[in-house]
Amino acid sequence: MRTIGLTGCYDDKGFLWTENKVPGHAVYGEKLRKAMGREYRNWNPHRSKLAALVRKDPTTPWFGPKDDVLYLGAASGTTVSHVSDIVSGSVFAVEFSPRSVRDLLWNIEPRQNVVPILEDAGAPERYAAYIAQPVNVLVQDIAQRHQVEIFLRNLPFLRPGGLGILVVKARSINVSQPPAAIYDEVARKLTAAGLVIERKVDLHPFELDHMAFVVRKAA
């Protein structure tokens, strides 16, 4: 088990691990293992786009250890549970599908730093009461046609100089356009909103036609 230079991420035998905040408890059937008196959970890049980002670009800008995170598109909380391992601040997990939230609640119940929010990420004003201070990191993994607009609408929650990670699924924006054209358009929109694109990471082969945009909000 060795660190790879990113907060909370470890590598062992070519696998990615995060330190388990709830020892003995696996969230979605992932492997647990003990090392150096601590317990670690396997983080599968084929299941989590954030893990795929780490695998594809191990030098990407990343969470700090005490960051607050706004996570849009939490689904059933598999990736959220790893984010909750990584940071000690609050993780605001927004998900709109009641079916997914049902699993999310069970998964994050023992994790005191996760705040589940059953709301539409496209209507951020509806969960403004949850968030007192600006978050350090804004993560979004939403396969919707208007995913970029949703990301931009949530930008007010991000502190100046904060980090944004937007995973774009090209096929959700337009099936009939080449992904490269869609990524160009996304980059244009992000830049126009005053964001600096620090990384563009294609998640192939873990995900097809997905691009992770790592952006920084102007300080």
Binding site: E125, A128, Y130, P156
Partner: protein
């Protein structure tokens, strides 16, 4: 004025959860985010607990929505149909080892399941079918009582599936009467429930245009059309409605359109106004269908999809109109490849009935008649051609004109243009036209 953030409501979890709910309901777009300094007294655990509580409340409300129950029930019907088909297939093959006469005589799945489950062995079943004499001469083998017991149990399971199916259909019918009576009156309770299940709830269905409702369930075909330019789908789940699938092919699209319009209108009333539009929808649908029924089978050259077979849709509209462009998108889409041929205009129609040229004859004389038998031993009329020696004198003047080979072949331009033999240019300008009739001499 900014609304209070969670910690400004104290540390009581219920109070905080209530506040989170109230501020979500009162929220006005766009987001006006005002950061607050988090006091040391604010515990993240309070927020965690309150958020959990609110999410649980919302889930309970969501689970109580009747269209969710309806979706599960109509999907359960589909599962049962698949299961029943699977089981009856097995029962038929299995029981035929014992009583092939019975499985041949009884075509109805329900009846077969009942017979086997209640009567069991061949003698009893054939007696119940009033064909007791057949049992004595049956082709089937005698079954061990233990085998008969399991096959009876299997038939009973199939009976159970049928019973559950019938109960579900009755329940879906009843539920649709309260949830979406107008939709049910247009397309029937089961298809109406499928529309609700596919759209993800009555409210979503009600906010969709009729064109979307028409294609619910045809997403694969629709996206294939958008992506690859295949023919657009005419109907989705609505194809299951007898009005659509019993209509002749050229009326199915408009029939599905009329049904979708009525269903979409009904869904809006069911979701929002709760008005009873059944009579209105019926007259509207009948009018639409009467108009659709007047549509005649398109002629072969009108470009209807299946005539002639294997061809895409041709240009429509008045002659000379630009061909319909299905998948062009706005011009801002950037450069596209060359136009696809199935959208483009067609060449002249091939006609198989038009006048033909005079028949070609293979028996007629090939050239001028030869004098006497050809002999390979006789003297040659010309010295043998040598490839090494000098060539003959260069020919002056134009190449010899083409002459038809057989009687009546080409010549006067008679016959359809594509039947005419190519002339002149076909042979190339450099090659000398071979004078006919010289043969190998």
């Amino acid at each position: 004025m900014a609304r209070p953030v969670w910690f400004e409501k104290g540390s009581d979890i219920t109070v905080v959860a209530d506040h989170l709910q109230a501020s979500a309901e009162a929220a006005v777009a766009p987001l006006a985010f005002e950061p607050r300094a988090l006091p040391g007294s604010a515990s993240p655990a309070t927020l965690h607990q309150a958020a959990l509580l609110r999410a649980r409340r919302l889930l309970t409300v969501s689970h109580a929505e009747q269209d969710r129950i309806l979706s599960q029930e109509v999907n359960a019907i589909d599962d049962l149909v698949r299961t029943a088909n699977l089981l009856v297939e097995r029962l038929r093959e299995w029981y035929a080892l014992h009583a092939p006469e019975a499985t041949r005589h009884v075509t109805d799945a329900k009846e077969l399941a009942n017979l086997v489950a209640t009567h069991g062995d061949r003698a009893n079943v054939m007696a119940a079918l009033k064909q007791a004499d057949v049992a004595t001469t049956s082709l089937g083998t005698d079954l061990d009582p233990a085998d008969l017991a399991v096959i009876q149990g299997f038939a009973a399971a199939l009976q159970g599936v049928h019973a559950s199916w019938a109960a579900l259909e009755a329940r879906v019918g009843g539920l649709m009467e309260t949830v979406a009576p107008n939709v049910a009156s247009v397309v029937g309770p089961v298809i109406g429930a499928r529309l609700i299940a596919l759209s993800g709830g009555l409210n979503r269905l009600a906010t969709w245009p009729a064109g979307t409702v028409q294609l619910l369930g045809a997403e694969t075909a629709l996206f294939r059309h958008l992506k690859e330019g295949t023919k657009p789908p005419k109907h989705g789940i609505l194809f299951q409605h007898p009005l659509v699938h019993l209509a002749p092919p050229w009326q199915r699209g408009p029939t599905a359109r009329a049904l979708a319009l009525a269903a979409a209108t009904g869904a809006k009333a069911d979701a929002f106004t709760k008005n009873d539009l059944r009579a209105f929808l019926k007259t509207q649908l009948d009018n639409d269908l009467a108009r659709v029924a007047k549509r005649k089978m398109p002629s072969r050259d009108a470009g209807f999809g299946r005539y002639p077979p294997g061809r895409g849709t041709g240009p429509r509209g008045p002659p000379g109109a630009a061909p319909r462009q299905w998948n062009r998108g706005p011009p801002s889409d950037g450069p596209r490849g060359p136009p696809r041929s199935f959208d483009g205009p067609r060449g002249p129609p091939r006609s198989f009935d038009g006048p033909r040229g005079p028949p070609r004859s293979f028996d007629g004389p090939r050239g001028p008649p030869q004098d006497g038998p050809r002999s390979f031993d006789g003297p040659r009329s010309q010295p043998p051609r040598s490839f090494d020696g000098p060539r003959g004198p260069p020919r002056d003047g134009p190449a010899a004109p083409y002459k038809p080979r057989g009687p009546g072949a080409g010549g006067s331009g008679a016959g359809a243009p594509w039947k005419r033999k190519p002339q002149g240019a076909f042979r190339g300008t450099n090659a000398p036209a071979k004078p006919p009739g010289k043969g190998g001499a």
